[in-house]
């Protein structure tokens, strides 16, 4: 079930638009914020709340890169895999991360600490290569720098 707090937050978004369903992406983000991802059950509740069918809402949820329909770790690493970062060392950064965390793209570490995902150009190309962990941007990365940064996320 949606909590009262979640409902209140969703209502704030609904108030902005002339149609309830327009708030659906924000509503999915509200659910994901507390729970980490959007389960089938929660998707159904959100759909009911916004007077949509579950299928309709799922078609939206699965369209967007950052609505997670599978469980993720406590921290999500979004590694930029676009052009400039690729030129500036994305591949060695990724292989370093993969070796260190013992996971590939799309996987979660065994202890549930990190999920590693690719993301298109993060728009910080003069500091490439870059990645985001949760909501933080990390720039001008090298394998050594990455090791220190990961320490901040328990």
């Amino acid at each position: 079930m949606l909590t009262d707090e979640e409902k209140q937050e969703i209502e704030k978004h609904i108030a902005i638009y002339p149609q309830k369903r327009a708030a659906c992406i924000e509503a999915l983000k509200v659910v994901q914020k507390k729970r980490g991802w959007v389960s089938d059950e929660m998707l159904k509740h959100v759909a009911e709340y916004l007077e949509m069918t579950s299928d309709e809402l799922d078609s939206v949820a699965t369209f967007y890169n950052l609505i997670f329909r599978k469980p993720v770790g406590r921290h999500v690493i979004l590694i930029c895999d676009s052009l400039t970062c690729w030129i500036m060392g994305y591949e060695s950064l990724l292989s370093h991360l993969s070796d260190k965390l013992k996971i590939g793209l799309g996987d979660t570490t065994e202890d549930g600490r990190f999920t590693l995902l690719p993301i298109p150009c993060l728009g910080d190309c003069d500091h490439a290569p870059v990645l985001m962990i949760d909501e933080d941007l990390h720039r001008n990365l090298t394998p050594e720098k990455i090791d220190k940064i990961l320490e901040q996320y328990k």
């Binding site: 895999d81 676009s82 052009l83 298109p120 150009c121």
Partner: protein, 425 residues
């Protein structure tokens, strides 16, 4: 040299507060427009300034505004959407404007909304721009408190509400009509045109969608006049341009320069030339969706017509440099992977063609390429080109590919002959 858009942005991008911004003349254009000018006059001024869209397409902003039906004869609410979904690979300019001076961006939205008599405005910001989101949220709240937003702005009778939408990440949201679908809580597939958004856009109401950098020019045009704006430029297209360079140059970065600055000046003077030991091979001049330019094009003036004469486009004006130690085929594979992934799947050529291209490029990289693959790639450049797809995503994807096949053909052939990537061996 005047740099109206970036003059107040600090080196560390700490955003200007409302007070700081007002102290340097901020929100002057809102006062001027609302108190002294008819909305139609503001549209006229922007038309005369020859401001062209900075999001990549280069359509004249004032002309776009002029396509809206007159306010008194149209349905309301009318909408303005600021397109801040900066997801074009290699593009990082709007981030600077939003992080460094969010109030300039808000002023631009308010003055532009007044011009087109919008009742509600949205900032459509990409999810990943968290620093921009925090800066804009704070600025919106300050602007409401100061009476620049909300009911009866500066006691003028004009009212405007502004909302921030932070999306959930998808390149297609940057396409004008895809953006509108996304704001309506749908998949960001493109819409058929006509009807154009100016007539039937967000929730079926008259809507204008403008890029962040385009909008940020508007306050300065209103304050200083269209002639001043035109004189900022070296060429016919008005204003300054925020150019950017990334890749293996000495000083990657962003610079606000006169529109029409040469490719040579941008790459050599501002970006400092190539890193030691590397040779320049080419540049994708305006985000991923533009044709390569090469050494012989160094003296091209980077405005909306210069690059088109050599088969490319200004695009977003943010350039990605290819050096001799980077494989052009690998680079193209990276690009086409992006486009194939971000295709919305709405129309067949794009949905089926892009993954096919990606697979061929991967095969070339792995040493499994065949001579006829190059013909298949060339065929796709035609079939996925302008006029064959629903929106500009696939034609944009073909621009770097078709020009790479032209300028770097021997590198493609080497992959076939040597059964692998020469840069990886």
């Amino acid at each position: 040299m005047e740099k109206p858009l970036t003059q107040h942005i600090r080196a560390d991008r700490e955003p200007l507060s409302l007070k700081e911004y007002e102290k340097v003349g901020g929100y002057q254009s809102v006062r001027k427009a609302i108190k002294e000018l008819d909305p139609g006059k503001v549209v006229q001024i922007v038309k005369e300034s020859n401001l062209k869209g900075r999001g990549g397409a280069g359509f004249p902003t004032g002309v776009k505004w002029g396509f809206m039906p007159p306010s008194e004869k149209s349905e309301h609410p009318r909408y303005l959407c600021a397109n801040a979904d900066e997801m074009e690979p290699g593009t990082f300019k709007d981030r600077l404007l939003m992080e460094g001076n969010p109030h300039q961006f808000l002023e631009a939205i308010i003055t532009s909304s007044y011009a087109i008599q919008a009742d509600v405005a949205f900032v459509f910001l990409r999810w990943a721009y968290k620093i921009s989101a925090r800066a804009i949220e704070k600025a919106i709240s300050e602007a409401y408190d100061a009476g620049y937003l909300g009911k009866n702005i500066l006691s003028s009778g004009y009212s405007l509400d502004l909302h921030l939408h932070t999306s959930a990440g998808r390149y297609m949201c940057g396409e004008e009509t895809g953006l509108l679908n996304a704001l309506e809580g749908k998949r960001a597939t493109p819409r058929a045109k006509p009807p154009f958004p100016q007539v039937s856009g967000l929730f079926g109401k008259p809507t204008i969608v403008n890029n962040v950098e385009s909008l940020c020019c508007v306050p300065h045009i209103v304050n200083n006049g269209p002639d001043w704006f035109k004189k900022l430029s070296y060429t016919e297209d008005g204003g300054t341009k925020i150019y950017g360079v990334s890749g293996k140059v000495k000083k990657p970065g962003l610079w606000e320069l006169p529109m029409g600055t040469t490719l040579r000046e941008i790459l050599e003077e501002h970006a400092g030339g190539m890193q030691d030991g590397l040779t320049f091979r080419g540049v994708i001049p305006g985000g991923a969706s533009t044709d390569f330019m090469v050494k012989e094009h160094m003296d091209v003036k980077m405005d909306f017509t210069g690059p088109t004469k050599v088969g490319s486009r200004l695009g977003t004006g943010t350039m990605i440099v290819l050096d001799d130690k980077t494989c052009p085929v690998g680079l193209l594979h990276n690009l086409q992977h992006f486009f194939a992934q971000e295709s919305c799947g709405w129309c067949t050529p794009c949905r089926e063609g892009l993954p096919w291209i990606e697979r061929i490029l991967l095969a070339l990289e792995k040493g499994e390429g065949r001579q006829e693959d190059l013909d298949i790639l060339a065929m796709h450049c035609k079939y996925l080109g302008p006029g064959n797809t629903f929106c500009a995503l696939a034609p944009g994807a073909m621009e770097p590919l078709q020009s790479a096949l032209k300028y770097f053909k021997e590198d493609f052939e080497k992959h076939i002959q040597e059964k692998g990537c020469p840069w990886r061996s």
